[in-house]
């Protein structure tokens, strides 16, 4: 700090000159230049050092404050209540546990970083404000893990955006919050809406459209229509996607018009959205086409057991311009027959209700149970699955999932695991958990990972029990716990903390049996210890956050 305020006084200017002279002499050496103020009888270098020492101490003793830079505008106040002290300490601990250290086998200690998302979700449910001094660590954590960002930014509040403007490392926070945190215009500000829509950056416009759509679908359509024809194709696609939330019959004319769009992706998305509106003209057209290809044969000629009703399929022979206009992609991917490709798309886009009428009032279960002639079964069922997911139809989902204990449910049936997971997501959470529990009880854990991922957290008691039982069976079978590390990790995050009591007996180290993998017992004990430890920690975390305002910690 050498700055001075105000104009340098004459003496200051003189001493500055003298100092310059000293530095120059020091650089060149006293052999080449006589130092200022050299006194006879003293060696020149010593004289130089003497003078410099006095000057240095004088310079340092004379330091003054500098003129202030512009002060930052204060951060917006955060009205939320502060975190309870115990929860603040917990957050510090969770944030101290950074990834990148350690590695390899995980031992018996919990993985704290994995608990941060849950902690954040809980803190956000309670509506606490983040402690300001924790914001840098929170933003750093969110910078490295994009999945954490929404929860971190919600928790971090207005001061995090204020901070992000000062540090380029945290610029993602500003991108995530459109307009740098500036509030989006409200319903009573049509002029601001219009202006932001006309002049805003792409991300801001998407956020604006989403916000308007959420409160008033018709206004959103109006905003979108006003500039629709001038938007770039990629942008049209993104804007169209905002209609997915709160899709309603009134959207049909707009979507019908979009079926004629220049961009193939926009056409396909419009068609997909229309097909999710069961009463739309497109859905009716698709129903007509699809049901025209599929019929029930009562004569028995198509089946071995005569008299059994059988589904017969007559796939379309061509993809006519009408089909193409309704979003059917004419060109099949490599390795797929054109006719089955077209059929799949028609069935997928047809309203599921049409099939009951087509098959004489049969229920989805009865329809799914019908035999299908000529190896069309997997094609047809696959398309129904996609339709059930798209139309979020639990009745059809249930029928297509079948009973979790059927042998086919575990193996390569008509419906893949990924499709099952999607079908499960359309069911209510209790039913979902029951189904997955039944599946695990019959088929074990090796196929269950994807299905567990769509279950609600914390896991319902029957599901938790099924997972723990299956892990116990895997242990008894003598395999290593890291073969199940995915499920173990999920269990640590999703199992109800109340289950830790049931896990207690599993944490002891058993003797290695003859047929077991060497040392497996110890590793299992360790894995179960980590599981119980993590569950207890989660329970503590929850208790710390639940403390009501005003309670002494």
């Amino acid at each position: 700090m050498t700055g001075t305020t105000g104009d340098p006084s004459p003496t200051a200017a003189t001493s500055a000159l003298a100092w310059e002279e000293l530095v120059t002499t020091a650089l060149l050496g006293t052999d080449r230049r006589t130092p200022p103020g050299a006194v006879s009888g003293r060696e020149a270098p010593v004289a130089l050092l003497d003078t410099a020492a006095v000057a240095t101490v004088r310079r340092r003793a004379g330091i003054r404050p500098v003129r202030a830079a512009a002060r930052p505008a204060p951060a917006a106040p955060d009205p939320r209540p502060p975190l309870p002290p115990a929860a603040t300490r917990r957050l510090t601990t969770l944030l101290t546990d950074r990834p990148g250290t350690g590695g390899g086998r995980r031992g018996a200690a919990p993985d704290l970083m994995e608990l941060l998302p849950q902690w954040l979700a809980l803190a956000n449910t309670h509506g606490y404000a983040a402690p300001p001094e924790a914001l840098p660590a929170l933003l750093d954590a969110a910078r490295g893990r994009t999945d954490l960002r929404p929860a971190v930014l919600a928790f971090a509040g207005p001061r995090a955006l204020w901070l992000a403007r000062l540090n380029p490392d945290w610029r993602f926070a500003l991108r995530a919050a459109p307009g740098g945190g500036a509030s989006l215009p409200g319903p009573d500000e049509p002029e601001r809406v219009r202006q932001l829509w006309q002049e805003g950056l792409f991300a801001e416009r998407v956020a604006l459209l989403t916000a308007v759509r959420a409160r008033d679908a018709a206004s959103a359509r109006e905003v979108l229509s006003s500039t629709w024809s001038t938007e770039r194709a990629e942008d049209r696609l993104m804007f169209l996607d905002t209609l997915r939330t709160g899709l309603e019959a009134a959207d049909e004319p707009f979507l019908e018009a979009a079926l004629a769009d220049r961009s193939r992706n926009v056409r396909a998305t419009a068609a997909e959205l229309l097909s999710a509106l069961p009463d739309s003209a497109l859905a009716r057209r698709m129903a007509k086409r699809a049901t025209g290809c599929v019929a029930v044969d009562h004569t028995g000629s198509a089946s071995t057991a005569s008299g059994t009703p059988t589904i017969v399929v007559e796939a379309p022979h061509e993809c006519d311009p009408g089909m193409e206009r309704d979003g059917v992609l004419p060109k099949a991917p490599a390795g797929r027959g054109e006719r089955s490709w077209w059929l799949g798309q028609l069935v997928e886009a047809a309203p599921l209700g049409a099939w009951s009428r087509r098959f004489g009032g049969r229920t989805p279960e009865e329809i799914v149970a019908l035999p299908v002639a000529d190896d069309w079964r997997s094609e047809l069922h696959g398309a129904w699955c996609r339709a059930a997911v798209r139309q979020r139809d639990p009745g059809w989902s249930r029928a297509l999932l079948g009973a979790p204990s059927t042998p086919e449910a575990g193996g390569p049936g008509a419906v893949s695991l990924a499709e099952r997971a999607k079908l499960l997501a359309t069911l209510e959470s209790g039913e979902r958990a029951e189904w997955v529990a039944g599946f695990i009880a019959t088929h074990g854990l090796s196929e269950a990972f994807q299905l567990l991922g769509v279950c609600a957290v914390p896991w319902a008691p029957p599901l938790g029990r099924a997972v723990v039982d299956a892990l116990n069976i895997a242990r008894d079978a003598g395999s290593y716990p890291w073969s199940f590390s995915g499920v173990m990790g999920l269990a640590e995050r999703c199992l109800d903390p109340a289950e830790s009591v049931r896990l207690e007996p599993l944490t002891a180290t058993p003797e290695d049996t003859e047929d077991a993998a060497p040392g497996a017992g110890g590793y299992w004990a360790e894995a179960f210890q980590r599981l119980t430890t993590t569950l207890r920690l989660r329970a503590t975390m929850r208790a710390e956050l639940a403390r009501v305002e005003g309670t002494v910690d």
Partner: protein, 458 residues
């Protein structure tokens, strides 16, 4: 020892960890799961059994209230000190009042504690005996001191000669000479038993080529080194305070001779600096009754953490004795009477102008001082492009932050804590600028008084 009563915060426990890996490992053990039979006593002991990979759990016991800092004992084979079990147990104790309930220490913990008490008693007796022994042969001690002073004098004279040669040829030539020249000179100073001179010479070696303005910095440091040499060579003619400062700057550490000050000391800051051989821990204390500021130094060799550790923001009652030297802030921690516990006292603050003046005044007693500890009140962190300042809330004056402070993560904690509002900040103010070490935010209605928790920035 009074009742232990107050638990520490997680930050305070984590500050005890020897390294980042221990902090992480300790944090993971700070849960009830692996622990059994954990408890704490009124005397300030915490114990517990930790399930490890083996069949027998580790026995961990910590004496939190020991007068020389927390003492640890764990049956695990770790060479880290404190080990992760001790850290985990302390964190658990700090965070969860139900997991470590009050109780009676088990036999194994009690044995260790009893052993410690016996040894502590012996140590006191031995120290008394040892001080008796040195005083028994003052003549030999005087001769040793004289021999060392002669060697330092020879070293200082040699250093003067080398500086003279350097300035005859010019600093521009020194840039080419490279680091070896300085290393060799520093080694000569080590031989001369003048570690203070050796350290200064080694720092000179890093200045050439250290960016714009290096000739100025090199001239300043050479001139101050010259001043120190001259001070040593003529120490007999210096006033006693300045002579003591010169002795300690040269590397004759001396021992604390000031009268013990009994006070309630608030820990303002604690931070480590380390080179390959040694970790130096600096702890700033504020005497809440006397208003004095004191610096405690603690060293750790070969990767070990320094033993002394005091949680920032907590206060404890103790005796502190100053080292000799004019205006010296360095002190030694004597007997401690209470465990660290939260305190509502905050150090009184001054303005940036007063802080700069405070450093200038301190140079009178110690011209080699790089910085002086001050607490600033009502300052706002502000940036001006690449640089940061602490701006006085009530004038348009500011202290720039040092470049090292700008690159630390603590800077962002400071900025976040402020949010554009005035803060109280403790730190070191010197010719490089200001280094913030701890901050307190104003909370609630009275914005004049800092009431928030101490937030460590280092």
């Amino acid at each position: 020892m009074t009742q232990q009563g107050v638990r520490w915060t997680a930050e305070q426990v984590l500050a005890l960890a020897p390294d980042a890996a221990s902090r992480k490992a300790g944090s993971k053990l700070a849960v009830a799961g692996p622990w059994s039979a954990a408890g704490t006593s009124d005397e300030g002991t915490v114990w517990g059994l930790c399930k490890g990979s083996g069949s027998k759990p580790y026995q961990t016991v910590i004496d939190v209230a020991d007068s020389t800092g927390p003492a640890y004992k764990c049956s695990c084979p770790s060479r880290k000190f404190p080990c992760k079990h001790a850290l985990g147990l302390l964190l658990l104790w700090a965070g969860d009042d139900t997991a470590v309930p009050p109780g009676q220490a088990p036999d194994w913990a009690e044995q260790w504690l009893a052993g410690r008490r016996t040894r502590a008693a012996e140590r006191t007796t031995r120290t008394d005996a040892a001080s008796g022994a040195t005083s028994a042969d003052p003549e030999a001690a005087r001769r040793r001191a004289e021999r060392r002073a002669d060697r330092i004098t020879a070293g200082a004279a040699e250093l003067e000669q080398r500086l003279t040669d350097l300035f005859r040829g010019g600093l521009a030539a020194a840039e080419q000479a490279g680091y070896a020249l300085w290393e060799e000179t520093a080694a000569r100073m080590v031989d001369a038993q003048a570690p203070g001179l050796a350290a200064r010479v080694r720092e000179l070696g890093a200045i050439p080529g250290s960016g714009p303005g290096w000739p100025v910095r090199l001239l300043e440091e050479c001139a101050l080194l010259h001043l120190l040499d001259q001070g040593w060579l003529r120490r007999a003619r210096l006033p006693e305070g300045l002579a003591a400062t010169v002795r300690s700057r040269v590397g004759l550490s001396g021992s604390p001779d000031g009268p013990p000050v009994h006070d309630r000391w608030l820990t303002l800051a604690q931070y480590d600096t380390s080179d390959s051989r040694l970790t130096t821990r600096r702890i700033w204390l504020y005497g809440t009754g006397s208003g004095r500021t004191a610096l405690l130094l603690s060293y750790g060799a070969a990767g070990r953490a320094p033993e002394l550790s005091l949680p920032v923001g907590l206060a404890f009652e103790a005796e502190v004795a100053a080292y000799p030297g004019g205006g010296q802030l360095r002190a030694a921690l004597g007997e401690r009477f209470t465990a660290p516990e939260p305190s509502s006292v905050r150090p009184p603050g001054i303005t940036p102008s007063e802080a700069a003046a405070r450093y200038g005044t301190a140079l009178q007693d110690d011209p080699w001082l790089d910085s002086y500890p001050v607490t600033l009140t009502r300052v706002i962190p502000a940036t001006d492009g690449d640089s940061w300042q602490l701006v006085d809330a009530d004038s348009d004056l500011a202290l720039p932050l040092t470049s090292s402070a700008r690159s630390r993560p603590g800077l962002w904690r400071l900025v976040a804590l402020s949010g554009g509002a005035p803060l109280t900040v403790f730190g070191e103010c010197g010719h490089h600028g200001f280094t913030p070490l701890t901050a307190w935010a104003a909370e609630g209605t009275n914005a004049q008084e800092p009431t928030g928790q101490a937030v460590p920035l280092c």
